[in-house]
């Protein structure tokens, strides 16, 4: 069999598995939605659906990068901290008189820099991703608190601070358009570019990837930078939506993002995952949160449920894969 055939076959199998995984996830999403609609009719209204989409928009943006990163067998716990820091920085710079647009760009770039720092520590200094990103999670959270002087920056912000989240094109908000654009770009990266292929190879078998001449260090660094950039982008969107630079936002955000990716079939061990699956996973998470809110379930029950959903998703996913192969 020629190598091209092997490659195509590998691709078809991967595609089939992803398709099956996505169908199961979609099935669960539909099932939950049907049950919720039966229980709470106002679940299926335009306003509420819009609400759910807005709630999960940040998860989807960052999740697009995290999925690729996790496929490569890496990990990032610092996205919640980077999100808070970028938001605070956005407010800090805007208040200091930097034109809003530049403040926004600078804050997003700062997110990229934090990603680059994560990448450097993981790749060049060979520290485990968990330790590095646990460290930078606290560093970024601490910096956010320092810039916000212990709480938040809410006064003295320019009038166009909220413009990013207020802009609508017809019925569609700019934020939703950004989400769609990010997802399309990352699906493209995953399926059509070397970066996506390399991430997959590195996560499946690092040694083989190295021996076949893939520059692992550069690939992983780029992935961390992408995740940092997306976390920064999410941070400025959230700050713009809240109208404040709040240092306490994004607590547990890394958990939501990882849950979304894992529900969508991304393997924690690397080598497997899909961005479309992550989007479905985020929707399940959003629908679940929203319906628990509508049902009046206190927020701390949601912590327990989210934890259980994560573990359930991992076990179910493994079961499906074992059945399939």
């Amino acid at each position: 069999m020629s190598s091209k055939n092997v490659n195509t076959e590998l691709k078809t199998r991967k595609l089939n598995e992803t398709l099956l995984q996505n169908l199961v996830t979609l099935g669960i999403l539909v099932l939950i939605s049907v049950i919720i609609t039966a229980l709470i009719p106002r679940f299926l209204t335009y306003t509420n659906i819009n609400n759910v989409l807005l709630q999960i928009s940040l998860i989807i943006i960052v999740g697009s990068g995290i999925t690729l990163l996790m496929i490569s067998g890496n990990f990032d716990l610092s996205v919640g901290g980077v999100l808070a820091l970028a938001g605070v920085l956005f407010a800090f710079l805007s208040r200091a008189g930097v034109p809003t647009f530049f403040a926004l760009i600078l804050s997003v770039i700062f997110g990229s820099l934090m990603g680059a720092l994560n990448g450097t520590l993981v790749v060049n200094l060979k520290i485990s991703p968990i330790i590095v990103t646990l460290g930078t999670m606290y560093i970024t959270r601490g910096l956010a608190l320092i810039f916000a002087n212990g709480s938040m920056i809410s006064s003295g912000l320019p009038g166009d601070f909220r413009k990013l989240s207020n802009t609508y094109f017809g019925p569609m908000s700019l934020v939703i358009m950004i989400v769609i654009a990010v997802v399309i770009i990352f699906i493209f990266i995953q399926s059509k570019t070397n970066l996506g292929q390399y991430a997959f190879f590195i996560g499946s078998n690092r040694e083989t990837a190295r021996l076949s001449g893939i520059n692992i260090g550069r690939t992983v660094s780029i992935l961390y930078i992408l995740v940092g950039t997306l976390a920064g982008l999410s941070g400025v969107i959230l700050a713009s939506k809240l109208g404040t630079g709040d240092s306490s936002v994004g607590d547990g955000f890394e958990f939501d993002v990882i849950v979304a990716a894992v529900i969508g079939g991304t393997s924690v061990a690397g080598g497997k995952g899909s961005i479309s699956g992550m989007v479905l996973g985020a929707m399940i998470l959003g629908v679940l949160n929203n319906s628990l809110n509508l049902l009046g379930v206190a927020s701390y029950y949601q912590l327990v449920i989210k934890g259980l959903v994560l573990i359930g998703a991992i076990v179910l996913q493994r079961y499906i894969v074992e059945k399939f192969s």
């Binding site: 520290i127 485990s128 320092i146 949601q302 991992i314």
Partner: protein
Amino acid sequence: MSGEEKKVKFYQQAYFKNIFILLLLLVFVIIFSIIAEGFFSYNNLVNIIRMSIYPILTGLAVTILMAAGYIDLSVGSTLALSSLVFAMLVKANISIFPSLIIAVLAGTACGFINSLAVVRLRITPVIATLASAYIIRGITFIIAGDQANIRGLPESFAYLGRGFVGPVPFQLILIVVFVLIFYFIERRSLLWKYSIAIGGNPSAAILSGINVVGIVSILYILTGTLAGLSGAIMASRLTVGQKLIGYGFELDVIIAVLLGGTSFRGGEGSIIGTVIGALIITILGIGFNMAGMPSFYQYVIKGVLLILAVLMDNYVKARLRKVGAG
């Protein structure tokens, strides 16, 4: 290389690291004695002992866990759960000792659940314990209900965290007892040897007949139990049951253990190192507070310290390899 030689080299490395962090501890003590008024005093010494008991006790168990190549991110939530359970039971007029036992057992249960998730469901330790951290925190909130704090506890409740035996703080006695037990485990027990073997080479450990599932379960249960005990002691010191404590505790413990020379990849660890590491992290917290630095600056410092601890470990290893002793 003969076994004897190997042993000598291992101790060289452990010895070198312990000396290094002992110096680090000394440097911090000197700095804070200069910049923070009242740092170098008997009262503050007692305070340091009382505050260091949590990372020390939990860190002892986490040392073996991490030496075996595993991790637990849920110890902060476990600590909060146990502290709340302890305070609520005493508040409900159950006597101190049974309440304490139940509170510690609550921690044991958390450890047991972690062990199930990691060894039975085979979920990656980081993910499993991150999930259980949220689950346990949620359960703590559910148990607490609307109460933010549980106050009005009897005087005797405070003994565990504030009591004295003559001039000696009771907590110091607890620390010494537990450190001796774990030092014994390190030097004499199969549990330690097996854990190091699992951390060093999991496949080889399985092939040589070590019951990996059993050992790792014991380590998670031990970690949960000691995190539970730490929580009970913390509730006692504060004389309030609080649901919001223990955030970032897992970071403190991991930093202490890594500073102490336990490798994140598993395969080596040091009990005495962990004790020194825990003292460093405690002294940093207290010292910066006394010097008037807002607590959120400490997040940054701790994050940097975590990464530096691992870098130091890598550096020492590379260095020892160069001189032919690693």
